[in-house]
Symmetry: C2
Subunit: 446 residues, 2 copies
């Protein structure tokens, strides 16, 4: 169901063109009112599912209890009363679309109003919690987390540091490189990130040390959630791949570069990553993202075309015109009431491989993807200065520290530093839409 | 509670010294009687937990319903009625020990017998299913699967093929190398393994191909199950590490060598592994393994001692004297009623890193391990010919194919080939104990 792009909502803040949560967006979250509980960055059994509209969260649990979803299949209504989105995801794309259509109808401005409309609007309004008062929880139970490496610019920037003579390995242009990440250490935005201890080798020394990481970094990424499973042995064709995706969130793949560079050969990243991976609370459904779909940036003429199993039609809109930004705030900046500084800004459409290609490649060996699994983009970087998605790239491995307005310098993250990822979409004729924020503050090793 | 090592069971087959399931062993499984369901290699909601004794499985669900566990805490009794072991694991080591002690008492030969004993024994006997009639299911829900590389001989053999000039990388002797595996594609022994398609590059060609893997291999491994969690940010000290482990199973980390070698740089194994990983149905509790604990083989004099956080006391018995064997049966061998041929035999005590060291290293960055998570050893190989745990090693990358008694040759696995891992322990004065089998047959790509 296409949602009317010029419709407005009776929720006034939804029509604020800068706020990012208009009627056409309607991302999902899991939340409790602040009074109910403290945030722990994990799933919460008493959480309700909610949908973001303007400055509010509409409680899906309450909506179902009020009978306002009774036209939807029982399975969908029941999924709206769950504490996480997985049951709704399992209902499939037709159900996702039906629920979204229903929410749109309940929230759009209806003229002229009948008294029944007014009563209904009053009931829906009673199910709203201000976003500022909510405590968010993990909206999705993720059993398997895969991290790709789909930004050519990121792979080139990083490759140049580790392998100056050949930044890109020969396989890069042929397949979406990825690795199995650690699902247990996925935490919600807002969860503090403790600086990890680890074993690493300082270049000048002959033996490694075991101590707190001195090269702690962030990675600006986007997570795609699997909504439709494939069974073990079942490959998903490229034409079908997007239909398996439920939606997108922001993801920060925190990285301890010193641990990573000592451990990663020959089996890849391990403890340099698995101390924490942060995800944003909002899950934006693919249907809401339709106006932001675009072609991926064209490949260089010298690069091979994708092989048949990864080949999308020329006109496929498999990229997303979504701007990503990372901001840094240090303890001193906060003491001095300074706004966070922007570290980098990139666009998701600049990926070399689309999420559809990642999903098809992932299942090309018959690997089964489960509802709620994450396929992450890998760090999203652009080609230009100021568009890198990690400090490793920005400071060239720490050699060129950033100068902050406080006079502080940063090669890598210090204790007390807070990194916040933001994502938004701008499309002619539509209000700005927001993916929200993905934030984490570094705690001292302990 | 130490279990009397000379006690026998009233279950006659338990006292057969070759069968491998004596009174002192009592491994766990999840099963349904064959009539109830077909095997699907996954969890089964109607599965019962069972304990292996002689040729039988004692039904824990039935034992609880009969009131024979009523002296145990309610939490433990309830865990015995679950379809998987995770709830029992969550009860902690004291509960594991109490249940095991109770099972021992119920199954041991008691002399002289009272009529109450006879009645009880009749009741317990009524709760037995012959192993040969049971259908097994996954006994543990595993959310996170980590695969290590803890056999020095395996790492050396493989490293020699990929990097002849330096088979072992400089980090090998310093830390237990590992990577995050894929949990969704863990399947139970007996599940057929479909030959994966994948992208790989044939050396003489300039471009890769996408086709069925031509270099399909097995890896003979042991899985250790986490039974006690640590929370995110909490490091587990080496002295405490073994207490976090619940038990061991066999694991076959099927590997498509062509896919793996093309994809693995720089982020490690991915689709070369995630099409299937087989685990054996029996989970042997750590307490049962106590008599088989032993020192790890000593390190070479030139190797560094483990760093402080990984250093076990000189006298630590952190290895396991468990023999591992892999067997191959081809379709033609089965047609000709030939017994499977042994491919390799190694011993788990020959690992370079202990499971305790793997667990402590894994949590050294604060990574949280969850109940049911698997830490796998990586391929277990010995130093001698005939002790390698994979075809890659045995055939030197396929260059020296094996000759089978049928006249067939094998560089890698062919369709119809069945690989079976076996594990057993022999200890002076004790009957042989068995870890059971971990079996899988290769289906044609499809």
């Amino acid at each position: 169901m296409p949602l009317d792009s010029i419709a407005t909502s009776w929720v006034g803040t939804a029509n604020d063109p800068e706020r990012g949560f208009p009627l056409q967006w309607l991302p999902y979250c899991a939340f409790t009112p602040a009074a109910a509980s403290g945030a722990d960055g994990l799933a919460h059994p008493a959480a309700h599912l909610g949908v973001g509209i303007g400055a509010f969260i509409l409680d899906l649990h309450g909506l179902r209890a009020s009978g306002l979803l009774r036209d939807l299949p029982e399975e969908v209504q029941s999924a709206c009363s769950a504490a996480q989105l997985n049951a709704l995801m399992s209902c499939g794309p037709a159900a996702w679309s039906a629920l979204r259509g229903r929410l749109f109808d309940l929230l759009k401005t209806a003229e002229p109003r009948s008294s029944r409309d007014t009563d209904r609007q009053r009931l829906v309004a009673s199910l709203m919690t201000p976003m500022a008062q909510a405590v968010f929880h993990k909206a999705v139970c993720t059993e398997n987390y895969t991290d790709f490496y789909a930004s050519l610019h990121h792979a080139t920037n990083v490759g140049r540091l580790f392998r100056p003579e050949r930044p890109l390995l020969p396989n890069y242009a042929w397949l979406p490189i990825g690795y199995h990440g650690r699902a247990s250490s996925l935490v919600l935005s807002g969860t503090a990130v403790r600086r990890p201890y680890g074993q690493y080798k300082i270049a000048a020394e002959s033996a490694p040390v075991f101590q707190a990481s001195a090269r702690l970094d962030y990675e600006m990424e986007v997570a795609a959630y699997v909504g439709v499973e494939n069974s073990l042995g079942e490959r998903v064709r490229i034409e079908e791949a997007t239909k398996h995706l439920f939606g997108l969130s922001l993801l920060n793949d925190w990285s301890a570069r010193d641990i990573q560079s000592w451990e990663y050969q020959p089996l890849g990243p391990f403890l340099g990553k698995s101390f924490a991976t942060s995800i944003s609370p909002w899950v934006v459904p693919m249907e809401a993202l339709a106006p932001y779909r675009t072609k991926l940036a064209p490949r260089a003429a010298a690069d091979p075309a994708p092989m048949a199993y990864l080949a999308e039609p020329e006109e496929a809109l498999s990229g997303f015109n979504i701007t990503l930004e990372a901001y840094l705030s240090t303890a001193r900046m906060r003491e001095q009431a300074m706004a966070p500084v922007r570290l980098g800004r990139a666009n998701l459409r600049d990926l070399y491989w689309s999420f559809a290609q990642m999903l098809t490649h992932h299942t090309s060996n018959g690997c089964n993807l489960r509802v709620g699994d994450i396929l992450a983009s890998g760090t999203v970087s652009g080609e230009q200065p100021g568009s890198q998605g990690s400090l490793l790239e920005m400071t060239r491995g720490g050699d060129d520290p950033l100068c902050l307005p406080t006079g502080e310098r940063r090669a890598f993250l210090e204790d007390g530093d807070e990194v916040s990822l933001r994502g938004y979409g701008d499309c002619t004729g539509l209000p700005r839409v927001s993916l929200g924020e993905c934030t984490g503050r570094i705690l001292a090793a302990g």
